[in-house]
């Protein structure tokens, strides 16, 4: 669980980012939406302890900055918006997800192996485990990093546009994986540009506007407050009436 109060952060120039208060719960998928440049990535980075901030970020009741970095990584995993193309095979990458546990000293134990294998199976990347990241397609690479984050097995998972480059089937699978993780009690915070998907799968939605997080609520609430969505995305959302429809909420003009 991540609780945020009066959070403020800033780049060397430009306006301040702020969050008055927000709660990202365990067992929930929290979606962060907003325009380009509204500050979603900055928020996630800050929550992950990667940026200096003022105010409070309580991760499981303890202030983020009071964690040692390894402890924090056991509580919070973070997948950045763009990831590196490395000369490294997929399995090795995924094994690095276990770093917060074995650190430098312990070797990969049975437990670790199990977590790694499970992550690879969840993402269907088992057959790619010996392949190099350089030799993967964009979507496959994204799945490899996703496996790493799953292997990290932290109670909160922050993901910045994780479905980038994924095809539809993988996106669907991705959300079912999230469901599995959420059932295990993990909390997910993800940034997402596909509003229909977001409304379909997220339990709670956080909207960032102009470097501020000011609106939060269930998809239903947002559907009712049409103008907020329309202002940011040029469309509104409504409950789908078509029963063949893939998503429960669909965009309307």
């Amino acid at each position: 669980m991540i609780e945020v109060k009066n959070l403020k952060t800033k780049y060397s120039y430009g306006d301040e980012f702020s969050v008055a208060s927000a709660l990202f719960e365990n067992g929930r998928i929290s979606g962060v939406i907003g325009k380009n440049g509204s500050g979603k990535s900055t928020l996630l980075k800050t929550l992950a302890g990667q940026r200096k901030y003022e105010g409070r970020i309580l991760i499981n009741q303890k202030e983020c900055s009071e964690y040692s970095s390894m402890e924090r990584a056991r509580e919070v995993a973070f997948l950045p918006q763009s990831v590196k193309n490395l000369n490294m095979d997929v399995r090795t990458l995924v094994e690095h997800g276990r770093y917060p546990y074995h650190g430098n000293f312990r070797r990969m134990g049975e437990e670790d192996e199990k977590k790694v294998n499970r992550a690879l199976e969840l993402t269907h990347m088992k057959s790619f485990e010996k392949r190099d990241l350089y030799e993967l397609s964009g979507g496959e690479r994204q799945l490899a990093y996703l496996s790493m984050i799953i292997a990290q097995d932290s109670s909160m998972i922050l993901m910045d546009e994780p479905t980038t480059y994924m095809d539809r089937i993988h996106q669907d699978e991705f959300f079912s994986i999230l469901r599995i993780l959420v059932k295990e009690g993990k909390g997910i915070v993800m940034v997402c540009h596909d509003i229909e998907q977001c409304f379909a799968y997220c339990d709670k939605i956080f909207l960032m506007e102009d470097r501020k997080l000011e609106y939060a609520g269930t998809p239903d609430v947002f559907t009712q407050n049409e103008q907020i969505i329309r202002r940011n995305f040029g469309i509104a959302m409504k409950k789908s009436e078509d029963e063949e429809s893939v998503y429960p909420f669909v965009m309307k003009k």
């Binding site: 992950a48 990667q50 973070f78 990831v83 590196k84 074995h102 430098n104």
Partner: protein, 329 residues
């Protein structure tokens, strides 16, 4: 299993073979039989001196220098994600050289002491680099440029000393070419235990090197204290090459060629990479020094000569063999 043979047993075998070869080959005045006699406690006094005071310390020194320089290069290159990084380019060599020269001016002819001077020089310069780099954000570029700056600074002070005391130029040249023929046994006693400790420490810390390579965002998310580890690896590298340099002066290209060759043929994690650098570096330098001291006995050729002469074509061959992988990077 095949992996273990290929990456552990084979390299270790090569190392042992080269150590044994280095022990038995050398001056003609002492035969293999004599050596065995000496090792089992017998032999004449003079044979004992040759084996225990000259040959064995030298083998220990070459093996540990080879390991130290290769691992040092590997740590720096992987840390900074830069194929061209090496103890030399980061100013560690120039720092050591400066202090050797200062020492030579203040206490000339104390041969044993110069090894401490070299070591302290390397350490001080690295500390300075780390401080400047941390002021400037501890990013890769800031470390690299801090290294370049201090390297240049040390070099200019070296130049000043040589301008003021031209007779020190010989010391400078001697330090710069490096070699084991004037090995001081005290420096071996000081440097080798040190090297062994740091090698073990870097093997232990190896996983953090892997994580660093994922980039700062991902590494931070995995709980790595990026600034700390980046500085730690640089410091380890400096300690290793400082200790090596204190025994034998600068042996160029070791820290550049061996890690690059290892990275071309080995694709596993950093712990394996460090292990391979260690073992291959040690056997390679021992063999080169063996060649250097036995080919034109009673004279010696600098081991750096064979190092480049064998290492460079090998690197070319590796490049051609692995050209497909290179195309992607």
């Amino acid at each position: 299993m095949k992996k273990i043979i290929k990456w552990y047993i084979l390299p270790l075998g090569i190392l042992i073979l080269s150590l044994v070869a280095a022990l038995f080959a050398g001056s003609k005045s002492i035969s293999v039989k004599d050596i065995i006699k000496v090792l089992s406690g017998g032999g004449s006094a003079f044979q004992k001196v040759i084996i225990f005071q000259v040959r064995i310390p030298r083998i220990i020194a070459t093996a540990s220098t080879g390991a130290a320089l290769s691992v040092s290069g590997y740590l720096i290159q992987n840390n900074l994600n830069n194929t061209l990084a090496s103890p030399g380019i980061l100013g560690i060599n120039n720092g050591a050289g400066l202090f050797v020269l200062l020492f030579a001016c203040l206490f000339p002819y104390h041969y044993a002491g110069k090894c401490f001077a070299a070591f302290i020089g390397a350490l001080l310069v690295t500390t300075a680099i780390c401080i400047l780099a941390s002021v400037t954000g501890m990013s890769k570029t800031s470390i690299v440029l801090s290294g370049v700056a201090f390297s240049a600074l040390c070099l200019s002070v070296i130049d000043i000393i040589i301008s003021l005391k031209p007779e020190t130029v010989a010391d400078r040249v001697a330090f710069q070419i490096g070699g084991f023929n004037a090995l001081n046994i005290n420096s071996v006693k000081f440097a080798v235990p040190f090297i062994i400790i740091i090698l073990i420490a870097s093997l232990i810390m190896a996983p953090s090197l892997d994580i660093l390579m994922l980039g700062d965002d991902v590494a931070g998310g995995l709980g790595l204290n990026i600034k700390f580890y980046r500085a730690a690896h640089i410091l380890f590298a400096a300690l290793l090459s400082g200790a090596a340099v204190s025994m034998c002066g600068i042996i160029g290209f070791m820290g550049l060629i061996v890690p690059n060759v290892v990275r071309l043929f080995y694709r596993g994690n950093s712990r394996g990479g460090i292990f391979l650098c260690m073992v291959i570096g040690a056997s390679f330098l021992t063999l080169c020094d063996l060649l250097g001291r036995s080919l034109v006995y009673p004279y010696e050729l600098p081991c750096g000569l064979f190092l480049s002469l064998i290492g460079a074509p090998f690197l070319v061959w590796m490049l051609i063999k692995k050209r497909k992988r290179l195309g992607m990077a």
